[in-house]
């Protein structure tokens, strides 16, 4: 995560916060403790591995089988896609409650266009433009009318659900273009078992780099961390927010199309609000607080994987999936409590300086 300076500088940045490095170096235990404090992805990663090991011991090969892992990935994919793009908004202290519904709407738009005679590729691209536009509208209403995004996107969530119901005449749709076909393009777009989770992984890496390595990322952190300070430093805070909404919506729409190709049918009655709730859960589990200024894209992906493994593992173990919800709630509270505790320790160690 940390890029080393090429100069033989006196303060190398191996373990943050590097300002605290002492001569002689800290003990191994102290280093590990510090790594967990400052690399928030580590805790959910350990949790993820722990959950995997527990289920693997408990259920053996029926859990570790390709089929079972693919099922876990199937649960994690949609949550992960929405979660990792939601991190950008959470760092901005914003949220997009309509992202789940955009995930569901976008393949509908593609389907409608395609059945109306538009070829597949332009249909997909146009559907993505629609997804991006929803994000732009969410962003502009939030920024220019100065409405909390929680309210803006709650409203668009209902509107988009209505659009699907009205547009589909309450009838489900199939076949989805590219679905069930062989060939490279349709495999990539979702027919392959692993396509969706690989899409999400690639998006995670891109958004992770975006947040930590680019000017846009700095602008997001600055705007979410201290909006007045950012504005005074010349950060175009409104533009930054609108683009983050556009990005989050587009990612949700893109993976929504992949998901539709994977399953082959669209059900108009499905609601998107579930997705966003799981996604925010995954963000929290991954170490992103909802206070703005901080967040980790990679952590959100790990959080989504954790939820996927949990759902799949409980199914395989033959435990009623109803238990799943209790586990999810417990993990979120645990993660949140841990994060708050970590923040406190970090704040105290800073204050002591």
């Amino acid at each position: 995560m940390q890029s080393a300076a090429p100069t033989p500088a006196p303060a190398p940045a191996a373990i943050p916060p590097p300002g605290q490095d002492r001569v002689g170096g800290p003990s191994l235990a102290a280093r590990i403790a510090r790594a967990f404090l400052y690399q928030r992805e580590l805790t959910p990663l350990v949790l993820l591995i722990g959950v995997f090991v527990v289920f693997a011991i408990d259920s053996g090969s029926s859990f570790t089988s390709t089929l079972s892992i693919a099922a876990a990935a199937g649960y994690a994919g949609p949550i992960g896609a929405i979660a990792v793009s939601q991190v950008l908004l959470l760092v901005l202290a914003e949220i997009d409650l309509s992202a789940g519904q955009v995930f569901l709407l976008t393949p509908w738009v593609e389907y409608w266009l395609h059945t109306g005679g538009v070829p597949v590729v332009p249909a997909i691209l146009l559907a993505l433009v629609v997804a991006a536009s929803v994000g732009a509208i969410n962003g502009m209403i939030t920024v220019f009318l100065n409405v909390p995004s929680f309210v803006t996107t709650l409203a668009t969530n209902f509107i988009l659900f209505g659009v699907v119901l009205v547009g589909s005449n309450d009838a489900s749709a199939s076949p989805i273009p590219l679905s069930g076909q062989s060939g490279f393009a349709s495999s990539v777009m979702g027919n392959s078992n692993w396509a969706e989770i690989i899409w999400v992984l690639v998006i995670t890496i891109i958004l992770g780099l975006l947040l930590t390595r680019t000017r846009f990322g700095v602008r997001i952190i600055a705007t979410g961390g201290h909006i007045v300070g950012a504005a005074e430093a010349g950060v175009p805070i409104r533009r930054v927010k609108i683009w983050a909404f556009v990005l989050a919506s587009t990612v949700a729409g893109l993976v929504g199309i992949v998901d539709a190709v994977k399953y082959g049918t669209l059900d108009p009655g499905q609601t998107g609000i579930d997705y966003i709730l799981y996604a925010v859960g995954a963000c929290v589990i991954g170490g992103t607080a909802l206070t703005g200024g901080r967040g980790t894209v990679y952590g959100a992906f790990i959080g989504a994987l954790l939820l996927g493994l949990l759902e799949d593992g409980l199914t395989v173990a033959g435990i009623s999936t109803n238990d799943f919800y209790i586990y999810v709630g417990a993990v979120i509270i645990f993660a949140m409590a841990l994060n708050v505790q970590f923040d406190r320790v970090v704040a105290r160690s800073k204050a002591r300086r």
Binding site: A11, G19, V218, A222, G229, E232, G234
Partner: protein, 272 residues
């Protein structure tokens, strides 16, 4: 720097051209009329001090000049050209850099990223990948050059003391100032050593003659050391203007008090 002899104290280091002109600028917040018609001119290479009571509207004027607030009326001219400063970015494009009174650094960003905020060094063209190594290196060099001590350029800014944060905020603007630098109480809440450091930094910049500076401060000793000319802002207008070498602490205090008294009388007459 500070003890250098200044050969020509009588004439400020200006060439007679105007860097900035403010004509009849007004600003109100709701019913509150903060600026009632500000006229001032800033010569090239000049250091102009601005004083006034709390709430006089000094920060509001600075925020108009830095593109943060739009003015309600009046004109701004930069090097003789009328300009509209619609954003911090557009003011910056005209060469205006600002240190705000609230000097907000971003607590979640390390020192070097705060120092470069709004001026990030990036690579790969439109991808705008941060050149972190270069920014770290330049930050370290620059902070060393101006003798600002921070534990590390990688320390988050909420690890710094108030004075250190202030020094970083001032350094950020001074580093990139090309034409006009606005400093809104840059020395507030600073220790003696840090104040000295900032004063020297600003004097250094001023002596180059390239940059014209407006500085707001409550400390007359600082202002007399830094400035060529002083303005007093009262009741939404500039009420007093003095060349520093033509006035004294006593005169300035007296002028401020008497015009304050005059205002009070005007108010009580209007009320009667």
């Amino acid at each position: 720097m500070s003890d250098e002899l200044q050969p020509d104290q009588a004439t400020p280091a200006t060439n007679g051209k105007l860097a900035l002109e403010v004509r009849g600028v007004t600003k109100r917040f709701g019913a509150l009329e903060v600026l009632r018609g500000i006229d001032l001119s800033l010569h090239q290479g000049e250091v102009l001090g601005l004083v006034g009571d709390n709430g006089a509207g000094k920060s509001t004027l600075v925020k108009i000049l830095s593109g943060f607030h739009p003015q309600d009326g009046g004109d701004l001219l930069i090097e003789g050209q009328r300009v509209g400063l619609s954003s911090v970015g557009s003011a910056r494009a005209h060469g205006i850099e600002t240190v705000y009174q609230d000097l907000a650094l971003i607590p979640q960003l390390p020192v070097y990223q705060n120092l470069f905020l709004g001026h990030e060094l990036t690579r790969f063209g439109p991808l705008r990948i941060l050149d972190k190594a270069q920014m770290r290196k330049l930050s370290r060099q620059y902070l060393d050059d101006i003798h600002v001590n921070v534990p590390s350029v990688d320390a988050d800014s909420d690890q710094l003391s108030g004075g250190q944060r202030q020094a970083i905020a001032v350094a950020r603007a001074v580093r990139v100032a090309t034409k006009i630098l606005l400093l809104d109480e840059p020395l507030a809440a600073m220790g003696a050593r840090e104040s000295r450091l900032i004063i020297d930094l600003v004097k250094d910049l001023a002596s180059s003659g390239r940059v014209s500076i407006i500085v707001i401060d409550h400390n007359f000793a600082h202002l007399f050391e830094l400035c060529d000319r002083l303005l007093v802002l009262q009741g939404g207008r500039i009420t007093v203007e003095r060349q520093v070498h033509e006035t004294s602490l006593e005169e300035l205090t007296e002028l401020m008090v008497s015009s304050y008294r005059a205002q009070l009388e005007a108010v009580s007459e209007a009320g009667a």
